[in-house]
């Protein structure tokens, strides 16, 4: 009976399942984080205002074209194919035999980076023009404006999209079995290859995938709510002039929040 088989498979293979799930999570987390960093960098570069003339303009134009090509190619081809091309291509072209895990991390990061670049750019473009103008008027350059004013707002706004990428990565790392990375799908394939109970083995994998994506979704939603901060602020009525907000926690709460 299937149910007995499931118990049986779990009790015999749980270390392999766990290691597979761990590997899947590891690659997805690193891939999402590095991908997001790539996305932020690319987003900042692609929104640098174009100078009217000069060498800078030419350089910026070329960089923008290269970045566009990167984004289009990685968004326009399946990751499973990217994995094959990069893994076997690097062996062929450069003569390097890439570590499978390194290759996996590289592929997922660069792939996520392409999607995140567009998400970040969209996030930057959607920030009110007044925020940029106020920052520029105060004397900030592009990078200072991005770092201190724009990106903190963008990161908050793109958090749902980033979480979405993370969930997609948890599921899509399964394609990395084509280069024999020992993530959950690959492990399950090995297990079922030994016991020939395909349904039961993959049913276990299915549950594990779902637990991972479901948990991640909840955690991200919690972080989102945290980042929005409390609705109320604390009135500051102290003679000491410079204090951190934490020092003022004991002060009265200001509940009459004015809405504009």
């Amino acid at each position: 009976m299937s149910f007995d088989w499931i118990i049986n498979i779990i009790s015999n293979n749980w270390p392999m399942f766990l290691r597979g799930a761990g590997m899947t999570l590891y690659i997805s987390i690193i891939g999402t984080i590095v991908g997001t960093i790539i996305g932020l960098l690319v987003g900042v570069i692609r929104t640098i205002p174009m100078p009217d003339v000069g060498v800078k303009r030419v350089v910026l134009k070329i960089v923008n074209i290269v970045l566009s090509i990167y984004i289009e190619i990685f968004r326009g081809t399946p990751m499973i194919v990217q994995a094959m091309v990069i893994y076997y291509g690097s062996a062929l072209a450069l003569g390097v035999d890439m570590n499978r895990l390194t290759a996996a991390l590289f592929i997922v990061s660069v792939n996520t980076g392409a999607y995140m670049s567009e998400i970040v750019r969209g996030g930057i473009v959607s920030i009110d023009k007044g925020q940029f103008e106020a920052a520029h008027a105060i004397g900030m350059n592009h990078v200072q404006t991005m770092k201190n004013v724009v990106l903190p707002q963008v990161i908050r706004n793109i958090l749902p999209a980033t979480g979405n990428e993370f969930v997609i990565n948890i599921k899509d790392t399964s394609v990395l079995n084509v280069i024999s990375v020992t993530e959950l799908y690959f492990q399950t394939k090995s297990i079922s290859g030994n016991n020939f109970r395909y349904f039961e083995s993959f049913f276990v994998a299915c549950v594990l995938y779902f637990i991972m994506t479901f948990t991640v979704t909840r955690i991200l939603r919690y972080i989102e709510r945290k980042l929005d901060g409390p609705e109320n602020y604390i009135m500051y009525a102290n003679q000491m002039q410079v204090e951190t907000p934490e020092d003022i926690m004991r002060k009265t709460k200001y509940n009459d929040v004015k809405q504009h």
Binding site: A134, Q144, V149, V257
Partner: protein, 246 residues
Amino acid sequence: MEKVIDIQHLRKSFGTHEVLKDIDFSVNKGEVVCIIGSSGSGKSTLLRCVNLLEKPSGGQIIYNGENILDDGHNINEYRTKLGMVFQQFNLFNNHNVLNNCVVGQTTVLKRSEEEAKEIAMKYLKIVEMDQYINAKPRQLSGGQKQRVAIARALSMEPDVMLFDEPTSALDPEMVGEVLKVMKDLAGTGLTMLIVTHEMEFAKEVADRVVFMDEGIIAEEGRPEEIFNNPKEQRTKEFLKRTLKRM
């Protein structure tokens, strides 16, 4: 009199639309200049050209004896000398009131955190927003936001303050509190360049009133001259239209 900013033959076009036509104009140290004129006459564009939020199509902006439109001029350094107050406040949404006034000082002027906070508190007190330092912009009323925006600009300790219709986006009952702050500032000898539709305020506070019409300065002079005894026909018509509405 010492000129803080001296604008010569300033021109600005958007495509084929010439918005500023050969503007000659200067602001003296300690002077309060109000720019008035009908909608679309180019007042905002002039102000935005002064701090290079719009790139002038031609002319010169002389600051400290140098034309800041020359190649290789450090625009960001120049901008720290001009404090800008926008109609829409434009407070940094991700920072609380205190940090709105601190972040420019620490990142651009490289002041230490403590010094910056001290200076920020000084100006937040002046605009009477020192009790709200932990509030985020979205938790403030329009008048409060604008007062913080003024403190943010003052915290950079600029040579000139530029105001672009600072009260036009406010509910009527909040206009007074912002104008009062500006009046107080004018009394301290701060150099101010103010685009405004508040004629009473201009009459009372300005040392000089500039009337703009269709991209040129049609008339300028002391407020009592402009308001009581305008020379140009279009100034008369504008004042008749505006004052009737008040």
